[in-house]
Symmetry: C2
């Protein structure tokens, strides 16, 4: 029995949903509402599963896994086909660095709890909060666009014409960027890659609006 | 020829220094001063190497690698002994999730550029900036302490008695925490693990004060 604790809007959950779909692995969707009643992630039953109070959590037949990138690497190791990481060590490093360029450099700054701290502790108003959000997204994506152009290794996807972990992490970040009206005209290569991904079922089926808890 | 672009205080560089030492791999240390003259990471020659303007960067005989965790996985794949990741997929996921619990949940919030944004754009004073820093460190480490206790899998190190990627990421974060006077008495297990690590040469030799650019 495979269960994914997820929230439709969570981009980290979105990454794992894409990976599960890409591998053709069925799962039960367990919604964890991050804002209702103070946040279902803080309920003791959920914290017992994950002390971080973060989603996604994957319960793989009783084995509880956290952190989206660790979950995806686990899925890739236990279900190698089709692969989400190339075989070559250098290409793996390139794909992982791209994914971390989003997972470490953009996404953590725009997490719900961080935005709340800005408002509650630092007194940021809506404009200041949105400017913060857009700043990290626009700057972070610009770096990745520059890298992709400098490397010249992209095709339909971030690395050549094959879906990798890099695409799996890119697409949810673009969804977040759109939701917060970030500028995206400065990253045309990334946008083209995102469009190509959205021609594929695992990406379409994993998108927020297709989830059972979508509002 | 192996070159590491590093700054003595950078905890992401510290991680890679530990990994290189643990694998017994010699390297040339290239200092990149993050604050002098507006930051050497913004110099065009460095940006050509890494458009993110972030360290560490590993130049492995002309192959340029970025993002500390991707670099360490690459080193572990190309120099498997001694290993920094366990063989078992579930244990690998556990170790990676612990490392990401620092690399995604704590460290990105306390990066130099983020602290600068707080001060320059949001008008945070020194007290507010330090409170922000300590908040994410203390809360993030508390989650990791809770996880380690709940799992009951730690010994001398995060997973049993063997050094893994989890320890490699933990120790630099504790150094950062000390530098900013964060509370650490609530994470005794993590502190004990850190002490055990600092009995080992690769950790001692990689610490900030032992680097050629230490001030």
């Amino acid at each position: 029995m495979r269960r994914l604790y997820s929230y439709f809007r969570s981009s980290a959950s979105f990454r794992v949903r894409i990976a599960l779909g890409f591998k053709g692995l069925p799962y039960e969707y367990v919604p964890v509402h991050l804002t209702k009643d103070g946040g279902e992630q803080f309920v003791p039953a959920f914290r017992a599963l994950n002390p971080d109070a973060l989603i996604p959590v994957l319960d793989d037949d009783g084995r509880v896994l956290t952190q989206s990138l660790a979950i995806i690497e686990y899925l890739d190791e236990t279900h190698p086909e089709p692969p989400l990481l190339p075989r070559d060590a250098l290409e793996r490093a390139y794909v992982r660095a791209f994914a971390l360029g989003i997972a470490c450099e953009i996404h953590p700054l725009n997490n719900l709890r961080v935005l709340r701290y800005l408002v509650r502790q630092l007194g940021a108003d809506d404009d200041a909060k949105n400017a913060w959000y857009r700043h990290w997204v626009e700057e972070g994506l610009a770096s990745l666009e520059a890298r992709v152009l400098a490397e010249g290794r992209s095709g339909r996807h971030v690395l050549g014409d094959t879906v990798t972990l890099a695409d799996v992490v890119l697409v949810p970040q673009i969804f977040n960027a759109r939701r917060f009206d970030c500028r995206l005209d400065h990253v045309p290569t990334l946008m083209r890659i995102c469009e190509r991904c959205l021609e594929l079922a695992p990406f379409v089926e994993a998108q927020p609006e297709s989830q059972p808890d979508a509002e």
